[in-house]
Symmetry: C2
Subunit: 114 residues, 2 copies
DNA sequence: AGCATTAGTATCTTTTAGCATACTATATAT
DNA sequence: ATATATAGTATGCTAAAAGATACTAATGCT
């Protein structure tokens, strides 16, 4: 477990949200998925925009540790590292899709009333 | 918006996770749902266990502000306050169910290998 | 008068998440 | 020899989330 491992996981929902609840985690997974399940570090960085290299690396390492993404290093210079979703990570995609749809709907609603 | 409103929402996924990504938010919604969509403050507190009244109140207020739960106050002494999911909140239940199932599966897997 | 009950507040401290900025390694191309 | 590209590290800082602990209001009950 990567984040918030200070105290015990209390249930499956808790377990899940510790893994994907970080500020950029869901988005990173979504971006990788959308780019045919392969994305390089630099591409990811550019897509996210406002993230420091430290945070991006840290987040990617946590996702990797939690078996949600794979990290493939090519023995090249300059370096090339590709990230992809694992099978386990892939299984979260429908969820992210639905939550995203829910979010989109709410955002539209807010625009109507506000 | 309640949490993380410092910078702009960048996409629907971001929007959604700001609303339900808090430490106890998903669980609170799930508990309310499971108890026939009505739960009092004290019950909630006992069910969550390790939460301070400050945190619980704050979390509930954020969920309310985000229109995910209703807060119904009875004019009684001692006080009685009931929380329930709004329609919008209800729409998240299938997803919470899905993620919970995913989490449960992963937890079982981990127990096998570890 | 004093106690129990419920849903909180108030204040302070600690912990965690995230940001800013500068730096590194190294093969290849010029 | 120097510049370029890529995927990061290192160090220090700020902001946000969360925790600990003590307290309150108001009424009915004894």
């Amino acid at each position: 477990m990567a984040k918030n491992n200070s105290d015990e996981v209390v249930c499956a929902l808790d377990y899940a949200f510790r893994r994907i609840g970080g500020k950029h985690k869901a988005r990173i997974m979504w971006y990788i998925f959308k780019k045919n399940n392969v994305l390089r570090y630099g591409e990811l960085k550019r897509m996210i925009g406002n993230i420091t290299p430290k945070m991006l690396t840290q987040t990617l390492r946590e996702l990797e540790e939690d078996k949600l993404i794979n990290r493939k290093v090519y023995a090249q210079v300059p370096p090339k590292v590709e990230y992809s979703l694992t099978q386990t990570g892939m299984e979260l995609i429908p969820f992210l899709d639905h939550v995203g749809a829910w979010g989109r709907k709410q955002m539209e609603k807010e625009n109507y009333t506000a």
